[in-house]
Structures are given as C-alpha cells and as structure tokens.
C-alpha cells in the first residue's frame, strides 16, 4: 500500500508538472515570443481552454497527498508556510492575467495583464524548482515531525537552511529552463508564422539552458545529499527513469531540428516525467528528509493513513482517474491542431 500510494502521488505531481508546465512555460515566453496583440491572443488561446484543467492536477495531487499521507501534508504545508502563501498569490496573479486580459480591449489593460501573467509564470517556475530542491535537500525536522523554514538564511546549504540557498536556487533555474523549453515547444506546436519561429528559437536556447543547469544540479547533488543512488543499486530497473529523461532531452533537440514540433513537445514531457520519476525513485521511502538527524526524516511508513481508508480510496481513485482521462482526451481533442485567433470579443 505504501509503494502504491507513493507512486500514485508521484504520478499526480508529474502529471501536474507536465500539464501545467506547458502553460507556465507559455507564460514565461509570452512577452518575447508574441509581440502584437493578435500574437499574444494566439498564445492565450492556445492554453486558454486547458490551463484551468491543468492546474486542477495541483489541487487533485494536493488532495490525494492529504488523503494518503496526512502527516506529511500537515508537516510540509505548515513548515513551508511562507513560500506556499507566495505561490498562492502568484497563482492568483497569473490566473487573473489569463482570465481578465480579454475582458477589456484597451492597450493599457492588456499590456498590464500580459506582464502579470508572464511574471507570475516565471516566478512560479522558479519557486516550484526551489520547492523540489528543498524536498531533496531536507528540512530541519523536529522530533514531533514539524519544522518551520524561513525564506532564506545565509544561502548556504546547512542544517538550518532557509527555503532559498544556492542549491535550491540552482534547482529553481533548472525548473525555469525546463519549463521554458516545455512551453516553447508547446507554443511552437500550436502556432504558425512568426510566433512559431520565435518559439522555436527560444526552445533551442532553453534546451541548452536545461542541459547545462541539469548537469550542474546533478553535480551539486552529491554535496547536498548522499544516498540518492542507493535505490538504483538495489533495484537496477530504476535506471529506466534517468534513461527516459536522457532520451527525452535528446529527442527534443533532434525533433526540433526536423521541425516535428509536436513530437519535440512530447519528448519534453518525457524528459520532465523522467527527471521527476528518477528523483522520486531515489528518495523512496523518504518523503521529507531531515537536514539534521536522519532518523527524524519523514517516510511513507510514518506518514501514511490507515489501511481501511487506503483500500476504499484505491477504488474511487481509479474510477475518478479514468473519468478524468476521458474528459482530458475529449477536451484536448476538441481544441486540437493549430490555434486560430478568434474575433475580438470571443475567446481569450
């Protein structure tokens, strides 16, 4: 049951990052890839009908985490209090940018919300990366399983570290580059003309950024936390995840060059899924490491809810997932193909 629910939660987080990742990425490149009002509306209409559904994966992943590992939810959400509140404000700002921009046709109004949308997306990408960095690095857990992390202390990796230190900031940059690449391949796949050209250029640049920051982060990982490779030596099949990530990253470049934008986007999704799955595989059974005494780390065994609840949960969760996959298939199918800018006053 522990392995199953750990995998389910990991799966939902991966789905969130892959899906909302491309509309966050679209936000990051919004101001650069799209210059005119029509071009910006093209970007917004590409993500418009789906971004809200994508973001629901965050809520559903959070809900599932709360359900399966209530103690982990309580400890991590109260400990990461300040960054989570900032994430909430950024999510609100960004959502307003998408949903309010098209309500008024005035250059001052639209340019303000374009910037809000873009800045919100960019900062969220950095924060999500830093959040992953914190979960990998560990936090100062007390004997009661709780902690409280300030936003920053000395920017050095140490037991009493803040949310932002050099390692987590590096992870923030990995995330920023990766989601920029992810979003630009998506926008390239959904558009034609100048927006498509610019998105492809950005995809190429961010591909190099992703490659170099990922390598730097992996090199730094050894200095921050040891033992992440232990699971791989015990269960060799786990290497399939890093392999997936590597092939995905190579695929992005290869298919971009051949102008297969959609396949490049899928490769980018595989890269993200592979990276996150590799991390989850390496962490198990720890779900929140202690930066001090390792015996205080929270594991799946100490945080999981009771047997009966999990047994019921697996039934409804499976039904709900099948339904959700059905809705998404229908939704993406209805809005498939290159995006067309609707008349002013309709769409985004």
């Amino acid at each position: 049951m522990e392995i199953l629910w750990f995998s389910i939660v990991a799966f939902m987080i991966i789905m969130y990052v892959v899906l909302d990742g491309f509309d966050l990425g679209a936000g990051i490149i919004h101001l650069i890839a799209a210059r005119t009002n029509a071009e910006r509306r093209m970007v917004l209409n590409a993500i418009g009908p789906v971004w809200d559904g994508n973001e629901v994966w965050l809520l559903a992943a959070g809900g599932t985490l709360y359900f399966a590992f209530p103690r982990l939810y309580a400890s991590s959400f109260s400990g990461f209090y300040l960054p989570l509140m900032i994430v909430l404000w950024l999510l609100i700002l960004r959502a307003l940018g998408i949903e309010l921009r098209h309500q008024v046709h005035h250059p001052l109004w639209t340019s303000f919300w374009d910037r809000a949308f873009s800045l919100g997306s960019l900062l969220l990408a950095v924060f999500f990366g830093a959040a992953l960095g914190n979960v990998v690095r560990g936090v100062p857990l007390g004997p009661d399983g709780y902690f409280f992390a300030p936003l920053w202390t000395t920017f050095e990796v140490q037991p009493e570290a803040g949310i932002l230190d050099w390692f987590t900031v590096t992870m923030g940059l990995v995330s920023l580059c990766t989601l920029t690449m992810h979003g630009s391949t998506f926008i390239a796949a959904k558009t034609e003309g100048p927006v498509n050209d610019r998105a492809r250029t950005i995809a190429t640049w961010s591909w190099w950024g992703t490659l170099s920051t990922s390598v730097a982060a992996m090199a730094a990982l050894g200095a921050v936390r040891t033992g992440l490779w232990d699971n791989y030596t015990h269960a060799g099949w786990g290497y399939v995840f890093p392999l997936m990530a590597a092939l995905g990253l190579v695929g992005v470049r290869a298919f971009m060059r051949r102008r297969h934008d959609r396949i490049a986007f899928l490769c980018s999704a595989i890269f993200i899924a592979g990276m996150l799955a590799s991390t989850a595989f390496g962490m198990y059974p720890v779900v929140l490491p202690s930066s001090g005494d390792p015996s205080l780390s929270l594991t799946v065994h100490t945080t999981i809810t009771q047997e009966y609840g999990l047994a019921v949960g697996i039934i409804w969760w499976a039904i709900a997932l099948l339904l959700a996959v059905g809705y998404f298939a229908f939704l993406f199918r209805t809005f498939r193909g290159k995006v067309r800018v609707p008349a002013e006053g309709e769409g985004y």
């Binding site: 809900g63 109260s78 209090y81 300040l82 809810t305 009966y308 609840g309 709900a320 809005f335």
Partner: protein
Amino acid sequence: MDDAVTIHRLHFAFTAAYHYIFPQLTMGLALLIVILKGLALRRGDNLLHRAARFWAKIFALSFAMGVVTGIPMEFQFGTNWARFSTFAGGVIGQTLAMEGMFAFFLESSFLGLFIFGESKLSPKAHFATGVMVFLGAWLSAYLIVATNAWMQHPVGYAMNADGSVRLTDYWALLLNGWILWQYLHTMAGAVVTGAITLGAVGAYYLLAGRDTDDGRLFVRTGVIAGLVSSILVAFPTGDGNGKLVATHQPVALAAMEGLFETREGAPLVIIGQPDMEKLRLDNPIHIPRMLSFLTYFRWEAEVRGLDAFPREDWPDNIPLLYYSYHMMVGLGTIFIAITALGTLFLRRGRLFTSRTLLWVLMLAFPFPFIANTAGWMTAELARQPWLVYGLLRTTDGTSLTVSAGNGLFTLLGFLGLYFVIGVLYLFLLLRLIQKGPGHSSQRPA
C-alpha cells in the same frame, strides 16, 4: 491580535467568507443557465439562447474568481491547521481528495468546452457540457458539505493510539445524517443568490428602459426561481437543519436564539442584543412560546438555555453567532416576501410596470450574499469551541510552527490582494451588465 489562534481563525474565516461570494453565485447560476439553455433548445427561442450566453459570461468571470480564491482553502488545511490535519486527515482526506478528483476535473474540463466550444460542438453537445459544469459544481459542494458535516457531527471513525482518528465506515462519512439538510439548505441558498441576481439585473434593464425583452425574461425567471428556492431554504431544509442543531448541538441552539435561561414555553426572539456581562438579552422583541413550538411542536416544551451547559462548552462568540443567525433568518423571510409579491404581480401582469417593486428587486441583489455568508457563519460559530464537534477543540487544531507574526503577514497580504480582486470583479461585472445581453445575440462563428 497577537494570539496565533485568533490570527489563524481570522485567516480562514476571511478567506473562506470571501471565497464563498463566488461559488454561491456560480452554483445558483449554473442551475439557472442549464434551465434557460434547455428551454432555448426545446423552443428554439433566440431570446433564451441570448440569456443563456449572457449569463454564461457572468458565470465564467465569477467562476474564475471562485477558482483563484478557492485554491488557498485547500492549502490552509495544511499551512494554518496542521494539527487538525494530522488529527482528522485520515477521515476528511477522503472527501477533500474526492472533490479534487471527481468534481474539479469535471468542472474545469467542461467549463472550457462550455465557454469556448459553442462553435466547435453541436447545440446538444454544447448543452451537455453545460450540464456537466453544473454537475461538477454541485458535486463539489456536496463533498465540501460532507467534510463540514463530519466536523459538525463526526461519524464512521475510530480513535488511533496516538489520538488521531481513522475512517472505519466510508458510506457513513458520505451519507452522514447531517449532510442531507445542510446540503439542500446550502444549495437552495445558492439558487436564491442566482435568482435574485438575475431579477436585479432584469429590473435594472426595465427601469433604465433598455434591453426590455431580456429584462422581462430575467425578472420573470428571477422571481419565480427566487420564490421556489427561498421557500425551500426555510422549509423543509432550514427547519431540518434547526432540528439537527437542537438534537446534537443544544448549547449552540440556545446561543443562536439568545436563550440564556432554561424555560418552558420559551419565546422566539425577533430582535434584541445579547449582553454577555449580565447574561441576558437587552431590548428584546419576541413571540411568546414560539421557540418551544418550533423546536418540539409543543407550546409548553422546555428548551434548555445556556445555563444548562458548562461555560467552557459555550460557543466563544455568542453575540456574533446570535446576530449571524438572526440576519440569515430575517433576510430569508424578506426574500420569500419580495419574490412572492413579485410572482403575484407577475400573474396579474403588473410586474414589469410596477417601478416600486422593480426598484426593490434591483436593490435586493447584495442581500442574498449577506444571508448566505451569515448562514455559514452561523454553522461555523455554532460549532465552537470545537473544531470537530466533541472531539477536537479549535485551539488544539492550529499549526504550532506558524507564529502569529507570520500568520498576520499573510492575512494582511490576502486582505490587500482580495480587495484588489473585489474592485476588479465589480468593475468587470458592471461592465458586462452595462454592455448588455445584446452583445451575446450571435452564435460565435
């Protein structure tokens, strides 16, 4: 204000009350839009199509506001109420996770299709997406009410060795006896908000002498739906809720009614101010014996007052609870009166020319929001001092690691952000109303 528990309570109370402005409108409108759209398809009536499209725009704007203010609610269970989550996560994790998995996916996927898919879907398929959005919204409400009902009246659980609870009966949680009346009461209240908003916008158009065909349709729909829903709010759903409180939370009933002393033939207080020092009601206006009758169907029945309960089990803010309850009941009665009058005038064919009544309908629009908020405040304040009734006190549920200073920082942040959101929402809402339904007449190409 330097006490962390107070800050966490204000934090949740403010963000929840503010959030609920939007869902009550969208849940009510969802039903009304489905009805308008269904009638439009059946009759092939362009006016009804236009009405459905116009209200879908207002729905979409309000829904977006509901989404952005709703995300902080789920987060706060962990951020501000960590000990509560550790205690109760094994039970209410079920309903909260189900809301995300079943309701949110349904709503969000089909909302995109409903708002932007009219040109890509057949009319029937487009109508079906509207029905799905409605189902998602109402399912979401069911699971939230189920969560709240468990906190009001815990069932289907057992205690663990470490003092937290675990689920032992899934169906008891989902079919908790508390849910039925609370859910129907909440949803009927949401329809009142939707209906009165429809009526108010219609009344505005008629008074301003513009979009009069649409205005008549909105007013007619608003008063009829408003009458049906406001009657349902009072009876049987409000009455059913009251009986549950009387049975399971008698101390809360005494506080809501402002009954300090146990007595036979207890009066029903209409107006009066609780004096918590002298423990009595100042300036009371009451109906003799009515409370006994309404609670037990006997004029002479004994109703237990606050004096029958130990003081540490009294709700900790009795005046606010008392006022919330009386505002809810008072406004609910007024809604029945004005929508009944509207329906009467409609039958006599005088509704659209009676400017006085149209003014009343137009100015009524903020009040269902106030009544619904007061209703939730009644439910939540009546549960105090418990977070989970009889099991966990509110003071034992907060996050110990989050200090009052950090809590106040984010509370102030939310106050500022939500003020801006409120201004933007009103600006855009009034703009949509000002543009009018004429802009929605064409089926998007």
